[in-house]
Symmetry: C2
Subunit: 334 residues, 2 copies
Amino acid sequence: MTIKDLAKKTGYAVGTVSRALNNHPNVSPTARETILRVAKESGFELNINAKQLKQQRTTTILAVVKGIGNELFAQIVEQLQALLAQSPYHLAVDYLDEDKNEVHRAIQLCREKKPIGLLFLGGNRQFFAEDFSKIDIPCVLVTNEASGLPFPNLSSVSMDDRKAAYAAAEILIRRGHRKIAMIGGFREVSVTSRLRYEGFRQALEDHQIPFDPQQDYQGVRFSYQDGYRATMALLDAGRQFTAIFAAADVMAIGAIRALRERGLHVPRDVSVVGVDGLPLGDYLVPRLSTIQQPIQEIAQRSIAILCSCIELQAPACHEILPFGEKESESICNI
Amino acid sequence: MTIKDLAKKTGYAVGTVSRALNNHPNVSPTARETILRVAKESGFELNINAKQLKQQRTTTILAVVKGIGNELFAQIVEQLQALLAQSPYHLAVDYLDEDKNEVHRAIQLCREKKPIGLLFLGGNRQFFAEDFSKIDIPCVLVTNEASGLPFPNLSSVSMDDRKAAYAAAEILIRRGHRKIAMIGGFREVSVTSRLRYEGFRQALEDHQIPFDPQQDYQGVRFSYQDGYRATMALLDAGRQFTAIFAAADVMAIGAIRALRERGLHVPRDVSVVGVDGLPLGDYLVPRLSTIQQPIQEIAQRSIAILCSCIELQAPACHEILPFGEKESESICNI
DNA sequence: TTGTAGGCGTTATCAT
DNA sequence: ATGATAACGCCTACAA
């Protein structure tokens, strides 16, 4: 079933059929109505390959996701899907390992799929600095701040990671904690990790709390396992702390497990605060105290920005969204 | 940059270039070598729209995933991606809500994307019975048994859900439990849920343990929240039990949380066993006892079967894979 | 082994 | 408002 068959069936020419199908002007209401009706009746769909071949452009927006196991990203992808379903665009999702070079992958995928816009979920600053200039379509870095990467086609939408970490630290400080260890990411490599570290440090400084980055900061991957290992490393090194700030909920979960294996109870012996606000956190024992990412708003703004860059050639922009604080059972007063 | 440009650059005709690029025979080694080299040098990629338009077939294998939050599926998708990356095919992933009709969605997507094969991650038996006959390309139902759905183009790869549930029940029975409640799915609707229920019941029967399906079975969705609610419902109804068998790890996690809120400790007061073997389970307190899905093998066999159906018109088949048992901290002797 | 040319289904330009 | 027609980039008979 092609547009030609539809033309025969309705008695119109292919040109008219095409115009009707694409909501173009210069089609009589009668023609439009008949054509659309017959198309629906016969379950006709435009051949997307022919269309895109002719138009020399796809309707694909590609999301490059670092780490398929990342629940936070899974939730954002879900939102993105829903939002784009009501747009003329189509979302393609590509997952790659957390360690891989997402910019290289994106460059490759641009050649293959010719997307009109890119969403990066997670990103390594270094990779962007090195190769992002090879990408010339509008992009949004989602959940990562990118204002330090001055590319004219790279926007970003994220929560205020520095303030978020500051808030997390204050939650602990308010409860009397003054010996706080931090489990975070690699801050040379990940902007998010650096900002969360800085916010944390700032809070400590503002409250005159000492901190030894060499000893009390563990830079690891965002996973259960690494949260576990990092905590073990802290304990093995004999560090003294009454609280742990984990830069992600998954790390916090690994940390809690590690503490327990050394006979330390949360929150009785050690308080733990995470970041992200995964739904899971509410079902753990103890419920996780955390900073809530504004998932919905992040997804909405990312799409809105990307679309305005695509459609109106809007300049890149960097948006920072407010977060929520969730104080729950994994913390207590000292 | 098109195949024509490449023809000019190399001095060959487009036909030869096309043949070289597609590894067809009847190309001299010299020609092939030059063409491939120049193509690589200039970063040339075949225009996939033109190719597919001409060939009248895509290289798309489409995975329809029910429930983006489902960690088990996320892990399987990861494996599928890796496996298909080394094949001539290309994986497109589509997520839809757990309650939606995946067969309708698949029919729609077949029109839009014209995939050559389909993978269903999760599926509702009813939806398949009603409309699957409208799909005529090879399909594999992944993690769900489909031998009861006698469509010539529908294969399935799953673990032996009945035996898995039987094994889970026996883990509890071996430890002296005789009052066991079950939290499962809707067994009229989901084959998996029915099989897990049957396996569980069989184990109880084989050990002469009574069970009241009306009172001691909760049929709910596969989520933290529903595991939580189902457990609350059991407790509110005053059911007496020393153990809970949850048909999924996520339900088990919700259950553990609910028990704790009623002052019941796991495993001291109630033992809990789940199904799936999520990595998370090892980091919970207590570590979750569970049945391990053979993720890797499921992904491998699914792809292998789908490809042989696509390429060799192999008949549909239904494969059942062995599972693992993980006895851990969420259970104890009575 | 290599070259040539028709056509895949659509859009868009140009007539009518 | 509608109709005819030339591309879009590629594959594949078929001819050389």
